[in-house]
Symmetry: C3
Subunit: 345 residues, 3 copies
């Protein structure tokens, strides 16, 4: 794909500096860019990378206009990172084929499913009885939409997704391959040393503009629904337990686990591998550092952390061994302090 | 679904207080219940919630009979949580359609597979040569049963499960979507800087009444079998390495990892994200707290823990930095103690 | 399968001691071996197990030749563990059916896909337009190869794998069920409290001799490619973020997470559950202990660790509580040290 810089600048509503007839053929990072590449610089701290880049055009913020223009074609945008995001969206829209509407002949659609004429059901996909697929939605090859489930307008289930019976996802969503929405929550009553199944009678309700990563699991609720509000972004291999409620515009990185009945506010983030235990509440605007175990409710916005600092193995072993006696260390310190204060009397 | 309270009470073998002709249409938690809801209260600590609930009927234990009866219809059971579990089972049995027996025309069944007439093989499912599917078993849409694998009576593989070649699962099991049973264990011999594959010649053998969560993986053994005994419950996104042996009635929460050749006793539990390292033994009745790394054998029943306590980021940073010098802190304390005892002489 | 010991010894290029006409029917561990079993002893520390084993034949290194020969048939190899690995490979090759070349009638192959006549496309597999499948490759049942993707010679995608659009894997690879290669990397630009999608325009490029575990995810790059070099072995449920670069012959155990743009050298290993944060570099020959969180670059080869030492719950609680005050403990110690040195003046 070859694109005129002038056209790109117009699409990004930027101010263009340079020759608008120049063209680029790809988007790339500054350091590996060539004359055919459009790149961007969002963080003024990296201004020094400007001069050395061979990029055909660079998107920058107003503060870097002169420095960027000095080296060649430039698009100036208020928020260059956002402009870059929109550029990738436009680029993908131009270069990727959107599946044709219609139902592939190898798909299995049960009686009573309602599929909009402008939806696309891919090869060997399954849509159960009573399911509803809205206009522009894509159920890609080998995906599974259970009975009574609902897929909103323009939402895409990538190949090999499961959206379980009765579960719902809103508009403009994107669910990556292998994700399982609506498996049973993990609920058992102990009885005489065995586990008696508590059937999970709730469902999963997902809002608009939600992205669900590859092989991520969102369990159905026990009695009521598991809820993911609008704009939430979940990375890969995340576990969301039953009856969890995730507020709008949260973003969780890969391998995060959220145990049953946790209630998380809006605009929260969690780094990779963080574990949020069950039956707790987290207010809006809480940010959990990677690999942190959140074991109690968080009532105050802010950044929270809790991973063991890694070290070379020998140092770690010594510190870890000492850590196991930390409590006695404190006792010994206290004893010394007491003696000290006696001897000062 | 509308059900008479009298009928429910009989099914739960409970003592009924109130008008047995009253009806309910759903099961729900106490706090969001209305007159159409049957609810339960298992933990006497929450007795205060009784009076405020609008539930049409509440299942309680004998100790709360008077308090519950004072507010309306009540079912008294010895173990109200267990009664609730059984109620959900009965409810699900009434309200969910069980798939029809038979083989869907789009399923691929290889020659030599033996499928009981009372089993159900869903759309686009695969059953390999020599596999055996017992009566009442359900191989849901797009699931995969490898050659020579065995599925016991009444066991359900939800959509898009893989049960690998030669693997076996017993009766009344439930395997959720995306689970992979019987992928190769992770075994390689190092040679000249490369890894030489050790073919995994064992299998996976799973007992009766086992539940396997969504996207959970259970690897086949290297030479002998990986074994999951009766009644084990595994949540989502769990990794079970090759040659692991999990004793009966264990229950592991999501994101748990069990490395190769670990041998875990009966009636153990593990919280979410716990990691159990390989080649170790854990006795019966051991309970591992969430996010704990079990790095050596556990010989004594009890609760074991080991996660870093989380904190606001600033406090964590200070403590983590200090932790990296913990060993020297102990040395300094020792030095002070020695000086102290000298000065006391 | 019944095999003459003489034949096995020749295949392993070992020195045979005993009666070459004896036969075995299985490979097994020393402790459960019987006369029909061939076993191996790689670690001289376990020499004491030799005498007690009933194995029909044992593979040992030169140092154990006499001890092993004293008890029965023996194959002496320079590297008995490697010989064992090769024995399992030969055994699997004999005992497992390789799928027939050809395209199963239920597979869906789009126009413009190029499939070598010696490749095998299984039941209900999907191969997109422009994809290329090399000779000897196996796309097993229900797997998915996206448009323009490439699968190298002899590489096997087990049932229900996704290899996304335009992604490439080299020769002799093995991808286990449920793996998702080429889902979108997790990239969003924040704007007014929402997340704006950064389309992921890169791909995934995987070298030769790579193994990818069940339900493992390898995301496509944002602008450039995510790269997995030759000989890398990834266990199950691993998350590899966008733009990650993993050097040749690394091996990562289950549940490892590698965040975006991390650059990992060659011959590195990571134990189960380790988390490697993004935008950092790790040199060659670094070994990360299980459950360690790597939060900064590692410039020096060696072993690195960082998990909280587990303990019985009561001890852990006391130590964890103290840990949260560790910084003040250090201050108190410092104060004591200062007083001490004053009093010594």
């Amino acid at each position: 794909m070859r694109v005129r810089l002038g056209e790109l600048s117009e699409r990004l509503a930027g101010e263009f500096v340079g020759d608008p007839e120049l063209t680029v053929t790809r988007i790339g990072p500054l350091d590996s860019a060539d004359r055919e590449t459009i790149s961007f610089l969002a963080n003024p701290r990296y201004q020094s990378q400007l001069a050395g880049s061979a990029a055909g055009c660079i998107i920058v913020g107003p503060g870097l206009r002169e420095a960027a223009a000095a080296r060649g074609a430039t698009i100036v945008c208020d928020d260059p990172y956002l402009a870059f995001a929109r550029l990738t969206q436009w680029w993908a829209g131009q270069s990727r084929a959107r599946p044709e509407p219609g139902i592939h002949p190898t798909a299995v659609v049960e009686a009573g499913a309602r599929i909009d004429a402008a939806a696309s059901i891919g090869p060997m996909a399954f849509v159960g009885r009573g399911a509803r697929i809205a206009a522009g939605a894509v159920i890609a090859a080998q995906s599974h939409v259970g009975a009574g489930a609902m897929v909103g307008e323009g939402t895409v289930l990538e190949p090999r997704v499961v959206l379980g019976e009765g579960c719902r996802i809103g508009a403009r969503g994107l669910v990556h391959s292998g994700a399982v929405i609506g498996a049973d929550g993990f609920g058992f009553a102990p009885t005489e040393g065995r586990w008696e199944k508590i059937e999970q009678l709730g469902s999963v309700v997902i809002g608009d503009d939600v992205e669900v990563g590859a092989n991520t699991c969102i369990d159905r609720g026990a009695l009521e629904d598991t809820v993911i509000e609008d704009g939430v972004k979940l990375d890969n291999l995340i576990q969301i337990g039953h009856n969890v409620h995730i507020g709008a515009h949260c973003a969780f990185a890969g391998c995060v686990g959220v145990a049953g009945s946790a209630r998380i506010g809006r605009h929260c983030t969690a780094g990779g591998g963080a574990m949020i235990l069950g039956h707790l509440e987290i207010v809006d605007h809480v940010h959990i550092t990677a690999a942190t175990v959140v074991s109690r409710s968080i009532r105050k916005p802010g950044q929270y952390s809790g991973s063991f600092p890694f070290d070379d193995n020998a140092s770690w072993e010594k510190n870890a061994a000492t850590l196991r006696q930390l409590h006695t260390l404190r006792e010994r310190l206290r004893a010394l302090e007491r003696k000290r204060s006696f001897s000062e009397e």
